[in-house]
Symmetry: C2
Subunit: 328 residues, 2 copies
């Protein structure tokens, strides 16, 4: 289906030979996770270039496989490439069209098979988060907890972490991005992790308050209720800018502490279309995250992130990891 759709598109725009180098785009058309590919070429049919050493291994793929000889052969008569193409290949090209927008557009709407794989990747993180929720008292070091989390994800079927796992505590949570260190877990713990299942990613965040700080609890509940407000409005036809505004209004005086985008598409890449910064209208079968957060400099930060499948009347929440609850 994907291949046919893309071949039709090539005909439409008058392209005879497209060369695809981006790994995620190759895996998209392969319907498979194969990290050893060198290039995917579309002429009247698609074929895959791999190194001599990978030719036997690639023969199990459902595609014609050719042995890589040189780049000149691959780009010979090529008239369409991705916008990510490194400029070192320009010498092989004359005139070319860019096919990235079309592939991004195709990839933004997930088919049944893709949704299943994403659900698997989500489920892996759900299981890990629930384990952490129940056993958090046994961990007191960021690095060790992170190692345990990645071990469990792998054991549950993840190929690798979808991105550098964020397992941080204390003041460090005031940075939206930070890396775990060989450091005691204290006060507040933020876990933002993703699994990869057959190439498809998940991306989920939980924050746990470990002390009795009232300000933390207040901010936590503000972030939590912001996510719930978005969930009520999440369905086909809604604009991402509208959702962002809902959250910012709800945050009130804390609006300036929400210093990143409300969410993003997820699939073969952990950040892909829809791009929330472009104020996109959500469509059926898009898979997105919603991740409101408040970061108070030199103090702490709270972020909560879940994944959703956009549907006509109401989005389906894909992630169901337990959330820390304020007992008050």
């Amino acid at each position: 289906m994907k291949v046919k759709k893309f071949l039709n598109y090539m005909e439409e725009i008058g392209v005879k030979k497209a060369v695809i180098l981006k790994k995620e785009n190759i895996n998209y058309f392969l319907n498979n996770y194969f990290p050893f590919a060198i290039a995917l070429v579309f002429e009247d049919h698609p074929y895959l270039y791999v190194g001599k050493l990978d030719k036997d291994y690639a023969s199990s793929l459902d595609i014609e496989v050719r042995e890589f000889k040189n780049w000149k052969e691959i780009f010979n008569n090529c008239d369409a490439v991705e916008e990510e193409l490194p400029i070192k290949f320009l010498k092989y090209l004359n005139d070319y069209k860019i096919i990235s927008d079309k592939i991004r557009e195709m990839r933004a709407i997930k088919d049944k098979d893709e949704i299943k794989k994403i659900e698997k990747a989500v489920n892996i993180v759900d299981r890990v988060m629930d384990y952490i929720y129940n056993n958090i008292c046994y961990y007191n070091n960021e690095m060790i907890l992170c190692a345990e989390i990645e071990y469990l994800m792998k054991k549950y079927g993840s190929i690798k972490p979808a991105f550098e796992s964020i397992v941080i505590s204390g003041k460090k949570t005031s940075y939206p991005h930070a890396l775990p260190e060989d450091k005691k877990i204290e006060d507040i713990l933020l876990i933002d992790i993703g699994a990869v299942y057959e190439g498809y990613c998940s991306d989920i965040t939980r924050t746990f308050i470990l002390n009795n700080n009232e300000e933390m609890k207040k901010i936590y509940n503000l972030v939590k209720s912001a996510k719930e407000i978005v969930e009520e409005h999440l369905k086909e036809g809604v604009k991402t800018g509208y959702l962002d505004e809902l959250v910012r209004k709800h945050f009130g005086e804390y609006n300036n502490y929400f210093i990143h985008s409300l969410g993003h598409g997820v699939g073969l890449e952990v950040h892909e279309n829809p791009n929330f910064r472009e104020n996109i209208t959500l469509k059926e079968n898009m898979v997105i995250t919603i991740e409101p957060g408040i970061y108070i400099k030199d103090k702490f930060g709270v972020r909560l992130e879940d994944m959703y499948l956009i549907k006509k009347n109401k989005a389906k929440k894909l992630s169901n990891a337990k959330m820390w609850e304020d007992e008050i």
Copy 2:
């Protein structure tokens, strides 16, 4: 030192503003592992662009930090870029020079600080391999063993696997690259893994024969002795093509089963200069792997890989993980 050397080079070739996007190049000049950078710019001094959300976190780095606004600002008056630059940025450029060769050349020769980091990354894998050597009898599943290996690497200080860990057994070892599956470990086990310490990689392979197959033992000893022959000749001034020929001669009738390059440089990337395919003359303080292998189709494969620091009179072997020994 690196920064000064690069600024001198810019002056030499008449470049006023260089933009660097490649993560490993950015980390190289930062002397730090910072995966959240957007661009490193060199004018009369270097400065780093990061997203608004990462500005506070980046302030601990020893470099001027600027907030990313748009690409136009970054590329304004830029006259030098990397060859990996995506073509989508061409619209911001007029004439430009390519600075990749110089950076590759600089990165191929490691300084003391880099060597220390690589030794740490090597030591992590040594420890893991020794654990596996002593406990292999307790594992019978590729995926689970791989999860355990990555867990131990992380626990011992690795940020992440340096590449997709190859933990495969049986006939699958006849593929130089293959991924672990939820599958019983049998007959022969090949483990090719790497750690990342402060951005610097290691890359080490061990093969364990788990049955009594005489052909496997014969091939194993042939690969092992090939590596030893290379070790005897490994020092500054030797050409990689010469080393490759030594191995191919030693392999005799099995020469055609050695279907990849003998080794590669290692540093911030697991494959970097020196590129063995270019028949490079080895220089002092290059860090390389030597990895002879024999792959017999539909049967099995054996690969052994160690890491070395090139020195004037004799290379220093960096990796010391135990090797399976034929007891005969």
